[in-house]
Amino acid sequence: MENNWTQEVRKRKLIEKIFLGTVLSGTLIAIVPLVLVLGYVFIKGFSALDFNFFTQLPAPVGEPGGGMGNAIVGTFIIVGLSCLVGLPIGIFGGIWLALYGQGKRGFFIRYAADVLSSIPSIVIGIFAYVLLVATLKHFSALAGGFALGVIMIPTVTRTTEELVKMVPRTLYEAGLALGIPEWKVILKIVFRTAWAGIFTGIMLSVARIMGETAPLLFTAFNSMYWNFRIDEPMASMTVQIYNYAISPFADWNAKAWAGSLTLVMIVLGITIVVRKFSRRVSYG
């Protein structure tokens, strides 16, 4: 009896150890690629980074020095443009879905958003090309921003919808009961309560589109010069990295690594700041 009991315990402890080991190794295997990618990008990229990299224009082949200043600025301008397209549509659409989207129309729009989010980004790039590049006869930052904005729409819509839905209906009713007009109740009370969470969702979606290359290849195209005009081709980090990486010149390849490191750091920075920010937020 006594012997049986200790055997049973030993068996249970063994099973526990096996399971713990499996789960732990699974986690480690998942982390390994992340560490390798970050580490490799860091090692390869850091040596090519200097202050000039952030401030100067790309240098011609064979000439040492130069940087990606225009591409860094370009990425921010293009992402800013895409926010102008994606945020209003996404936020207002999400609010509508959460508050009035119970019927057939709501179902259809929700379905459309889900389909849109699964369309490959390069296809959306072609769409922007046909709509804004082929018709205007030249590449432009605007077309690039539009393409990325369309990619943002479904994520922002669904995030906004979910978070607005999480706001208790009692708050909506409490606002109405104070004799506040409905649109103000929705914007100043319901939306404001959900805003912290929505902001997190928006920033994560911004971080995602920052890394998009394909839709920019034939919309914003690229540029070797400083350009602040949105109706002209504009450089972006991702396209510049792509061009440098496939080039046969060692110097350019090194620059591609430096660009990758910069991009990864910016995206990582956004994610970390958002995590910090969202932890402070709580629902009442």
Partner: protein
Amino acid sequence: MDRVIEKVKKEEKMVIERSKMSVENLSAWFGDKQALFNINIELFENKVTAIIGPSGCGKSTFIRNLNRLHETISGAKVSGKVYLDGRDIFDHNCCDVVTLRRRVGMVFQKPTPFPTMTIYENVAAGIKLYGKKPKGKLDQIVEQILKQAALWDEVKDVLYKPGPSLSGGQQQRLCIARALAIEPEVILLDEPCSALDPISTAKIEELIHKLKQNYTIIIVTHNMQQAARVADYTAFFLLGEMIEFEVTSKIFTAPQDKRTEDYVTGRFG
């Protein structure tokens, strides 16, 4: 519109009471399910009227019709008339819903301070978001309202902390203050104490006593002792119908209807 609003109370002493709100044949539905059946009642000015009855009897649905909150639920319907100072609140020609809700304020069962706003902003919410410039300085109004709601001494040092940081009882008085800030004439209280401890409950009941000098108060309550303590009139609801409406003391000591008697003596419900 020329309705006679002076009503004679059916009591020995023939006291004249002014009817603030009067309800005629009010019925309400959630989709196909009827929740209220032909309610007729007078709500007298500067009096407290309690609505009692078992769960699901339509008490809350009834008062949610008095500020037309019932209609905001999808599929909800309503028929009948509700007069506020002799004007039908459902008549789109004379009354719009936003104005109605500023005259008929409401406090809910669970405290609902706006979580993103400070205590100060919560009190000012109704004034600020309405869009009209307030008479006088906002700081003074907020202070005066919080004093009226017997909350000033407890919150004067934490005015700029978030509303939900207060205790449950304080949050509920904050919600009463928020409702008072829009200067309503009628205040609807939907089981305001059911989530509170006895001390907070006592504070709110005391507050109701003070407030009735200036406001017409309608309170829904589960708690018959509470109705007996605070109300001048009491209406008993059962299964969506109003069974009896009388002076509170009569409802509890000499109910006319057998069902009322069963309920107030605790035989069911």
